[in-house]
């Protein structure tokens, strides 16, 4: 990619640079900054309130706050732009209530703006931060916080000076996840009429038909992400994470009734805005527009979605296992590289990734066919790039970060001694992996599998471009209708996507609550936490 970037047509670059690129760049940076800070604010505040205070309705909120994860961003974006637009029901109601005539008569925030986009994207993405931070908070060594108190900090100072800095790995990882999701997401931003670097990539590629320049821009985007993630990692390289399994009674901050109420409101707002409201909007649409015929026509797509998600999740987890075991067995820092590289697939926009797949498997297919002709066998056709093979591989690439993270964090919880113990019992390495590591990794593997499953159900652009004939998934069905501004008709499909995502998430959360030790839900993309931490002792 970089090579083609260097040789790309500089004319177009110059033109873009002189016209819109600086603006796009600024938008990209601003969007990234807004979304990352908003998700951090949302996620940290909600996690802090849930773990460290006696907030009302804690039990319900604890898992309600994860649910936005099941909402595809493009659907939420559609719903919200529709709702808060000038022509949307909210502004209409306001106008009729106060008898305003034109936009000049009153002020209302512009949902189709950079900030509006950032808000809505943050509402969908903050659960990443919430989940990781919540687990980090829950696993924090209580003695550290007690030490802080005895050294003169009030509970609130404690939160700022100890709890937050201690949760920094979780914050860093979740922020980089959010960053990658944001920058890779083109469809969502488009609803808000916000142009980012991703817009420029599409423009140069599809509009100007200049793939090299598009590649160059994509490289810039990747470099940007690399740089941010690298700087963040570097900054906490020297510190060690000290995880403790001691989970003695959490010292909670006792809030006054008023504070409790407002804190509770904050969390409820996030849960409502991120999930309950869009979900009920969809439900209303389903009741208004859906017919049983629609449901049956969706069945095929639903089966396709399930099938695809099944393959992708399985392959991604298997690959993650291989990588993680490889990393574990070769205790060499440089061996972390494959796993880290594979994790950056998450940052590649789906369509770009799809193109890369076609570019990779197209020639392979051609050679396969050439060989077949040479051997006088029937031509197999495009058996890789023309089937769901390419699609599955693309999605595996994209979600490798999630699978790797979940599996490797599970692996990190297996004490290093267990690598040696079986050997001392006269069991060889293969057997010990099969009998010790795999069973212990069970919950992490399952967690990784489910997360990839959910993400695959939601994924759109790569599926759109790579799918074979007559292969509709729920997301492509919904997209067809959305692209014609008829989400009403697609609401049923959207609901199905959400529901398919919901069950694994709820299941993960409840299993997480049962066994406090498993951190799989929250350790998505732990692969980013870079180097092996020096172990204590």
């Amino acid at each position: 990619m970089l090579i083609s970037a260097l040789t790309s047509t500089s004319d177009l670059f110059l033109h873009l640079w002189q016209s819109v690129l600086p603006h796009y760049l600024l938008n990209t940076v601003l969007l990234a900054v807004y979304v990352v800070s908003l998700t951090l604010v949302f996620g940290v505040i909600s996690a802090g309130l849930i773990v460290h205070t006696n907030i009302m309705g804690k039990k319900i909120l604890r898992w309600l706050l994860i649910l936005p994860l099941a909402m595809p961003a493009y659907i939420v974006a559609y719903l919200y732009t529709d709702l808060f637009d000038y022509a949307g029901p909210v502004q209409r109601a306001l106008r009729s209530m106060f008898n305003w005539q034109s936009p000049q008569d009153y002020w209302f925030f512009d949902i189709r703006s950079l900030f509006g986009a950032a808000c809505v994207i943050s509402l969908v993405l903050f659960p990443y931060v919430y989940l990781l931070t919540r687990t980090a908070f829950e696993q924090q060594n209580q003695n550290l916080l007690r030490a802080g108190r005895l050294l003169g900090l009030s509970p609130k100072q404690n939160f700022i000076k100890l709890i937050l800095p201690l949760a920094r790995p979780a914050l860093g990882i979740s922020a980089s996840l959010v960053l990658m999701e944001t920058l890779a997401d083109f469809a969502t931003v488009q609803y808000f009429a916000v142009n980012t670097l991703t817009t420029a990539i599409y423009d140069t590629w599809l509009g100007y038909g200049d793939l090299p320049s598009a590649n160059a821009l994509a490289s810039v985007l990747m470099l940007f992400i690399f740089a941010v993630v690298f700087v963040e990692q570097k900054a906490r390289a020297a510190q060690s994470q000290q995880k403790s399994m001691i989970n003695n009674q959490q010292q909670v901050i006792i809030l006054s009734a008023g504070q409790q109420f407002s804190a509770s409101c904050c969390c409820w707002f996030l849960a409502i805005a991120g999930f309950l409201l869009p979900f009920s909007l969809l439900l209303v649409m389903v009741f208004e527009y859906s017919t049983s015929a629609q449901f049956f026509s969706l069945l095929d797509s639903a089966l396709n979605s399930l099938e695809l998600a099944l393959y992708v999740a399985t392959i991604a987890v298997l690959i993650a296992l291989v990588l993680v075991l490889f990393q574990r067995l070769s205790r060499d820092i440089s061996k972390n590289l494959p796993i880290q590289i594979s994790s950056f697939g998450y940052a590649i926009p789906g369509t770009v990734l799809a193109m890369a797949m076609l570019a990779t498997f197209g020639p392979v297919d051609h050679s396969i066919n050439d060989i077949a002709i040479y051997l006088q066998l029937p031509e197999p056709g495009l058996i890789l790039s023309g089937t769901i093979f390419a699609l599955a591989i693309a999605l595996v690439t994209r979600f490798a970060a999630i699978a790797n993270g979940a599996v490797s964090s599970g692996m990190k919880q297996i004490p290093a001694n267990l690598d040696l113990a079986p050997a001392s019992l006269g069991v060889n390495l293969k057997t010990s992996l099969a009998k010790v590591h795999l069973p212990l990794l069970k919950s992490s593997i399952l967690g990784a599998w489910l997360l990839v499953f959910v993400e695959t159900m939601k994924e759109l652009p790569a599926v759109l471009l790579l799918r074979p004939f007559n292969f509709e998934t729920l997301s492509t069905q919904v997209y067809q209708l959305i692209s014609d501004e008829m989400l009403e008709q697609g609401a049923l499909g959207a609901i199905l996507i959400v529901l398919f995502g919901l069950f694994p998430i709820i299941w993960l959360n409840s299993s997480n609550a049962k066994t406090d030790k498993t951190t799989h839900t929250s350790s998505i993309a732990n692969a980013f936490s870079s180097k092996k931490r020096p172990q204590r002792n």
Partner: protein, 392 residues
């Protein structure tokens, strides 16, 4: 150990399909295997029956891998009597037509729909591409396909007869199925007014105009048409003034502009002709459409800008004969009638009338600018839109 499994998996993945598929019911097994309860229990058996315990796990992982790959074949089988369509159009818009075609000819129609990257996909697939027919909604896409040498010319007296030469490629590589006008919608409150495209830059409409993204192919084609008429610098000036007149940043689609007019956010918008008809047929959107007049611009001079939805034959079409049948079917009178009826577009055949609703908007003069000329100016149009920072 797992690497081996993986390699083994690939090895088996080359075996015959039938054999692989037979193993499918066993998919439950691996999951059970991995859920082996606890280390203690497991380690206690380590020494006793190491070998027997080990194999199922291998086996299950292998199975999973195989099954994952086995499915690939199920999508690679095409019956002989079919035709494959790569479509830029949402399938539900063309589905009734295809159904009728299948009914008449017993040829099955397979469709993939995508808006982005279709040409790239076709190019990458090269001579093994399964695509027979391409369906686009915009002239620029057709020209792009043609320029990338992804199309082939074809001889068809039927098509030649049915489609006016203006809406056919000179090299016979593509043709239009329908035409659509880039109309200007104006609020009824403005009364009956005549609007040309150049009027969009008129200062008296400052803050009263809405449009979708300038980069949308429909708008790009319009800008390209303006360029071919007035030249680059004039067009840029026009774009800048047009931009200054916008009530809001370009956003949404053509329908939402009409909605904005309905909400009194603006008075004038750009939109394709068929949206007007579609909105009138939609319960919710009817009120929006009823609040606007549909104007055919430039009637006093060159005529209204017209775009096409078109069709082309893929260069390596494997089912060429079927493809030709489909193309000829789509320009047939009944198909044209049905297409026009469903999509509210103007049939390309002069002897087929548009739907009654569309016809009620009256006759209009269409710009006779060759479509190729419009396509030629597309990139310049994009650059001018960038320069005018139209979308920002």
């Amino acid at each position: 150990m797992l690497k081996q499994t993986y390699l083994l998996g690939l090895k088996i993945f080359t075996t015959e399909k039938a054999e692989v598929l037979r193993t499918e019911p066993k998919i439950i097994k691996p999951l059970c295997r991995i859920e082996e309860p606890s280390v203690l229990q497991r380690s206690s058996v380590v020494n006793n029956d190491e070998k027997t315990k080990e194999t199922p796990l291998y086996f299950s992982l292998l199975l999973l891998t195989i099954i994952s790959f086995s499915a690939l074949w199920s999508f690679n089988s095409f019956a002989s009597d079919e035709v494959n369509v790569y479509s830029y159009r949402q399938p539900f818009l063309v589905k009734p037509l295809f159904e009728q075609f299948t009914q008449q000819t017993a040829i099955k129609v397979n469709v993939i729909f995508a808006k982005k990257g279709m040409a790239e996909r076709l190019a990458r697939e090269g001579k093994y591409s399964p695509a027979d027919v391409l369906l686009t909604t915009d002239i620029s896409r057709l020209i792009e396909l043609q320029d990338k040498k992804l199309l082939q010319a074809f001889e068809s007296a039927i098509i030649k007869k049915a489609v006016p030469s203006q809406y056919r490629a000179q090299n016979e590589q593509w043709f239009a199925l329908t035409t659509r006008v880039r109309n200007i919608y104006s609020a009824k409150r403005l009364g009956d007014i005549e609007l040309d495209y150049l009027d969009l830059a008129d200062e008296k409409y400052r803050g009263r105009i809405c449009t979708r993204s300038g980069k949308h192919p429909y708008n790009v084609a319009l800008v390209a048409a303006i360029i071919s008429e007035y030249g680059e610098s004039k067009t840029l000036a026009w774009l800048k003034k047009f931009k200054a007149n916008l009530a809001r940043k370009p956003q949404g689609n053509d329908r939402s502009q009409v909605q904005a007019i309905h909400q009194n956010l603006c008075d004038i918008s750009l939109g394709n002709s068929y949206y007007f008809g579609k909105m009138l047929k939609d319960d919710k959107q009817k009120v929006w459409a009823e609040g606007v007049n549909i104007n055919f611009p430039n009637q006093a001079n060159r005529g209204a800008h017209v775009n096409i939805s078109g069709m082309a034959l893929a260069k390596y079409a494997p089912n060429k004969a079927n493809a030709q049948k489909l193309m000829e079917f789509l320009v047939s009178k009944p198909a044209q009638q049905l297409y026009a009826e469903i999509n509210m577009e103007y049939p390309v055949r002069t002897d087929v009338k548009p739907s009654a609703l569309v016809a009620s908007w009256g006759n209009f003069k269409a710009d006779t600018l060759p479509l190729e000329t419009i396509a030629k100016h597309r990139k310049t149009a994009l650059k001018l839109l960038d320069k005018a920072q139209f979308d920002l």
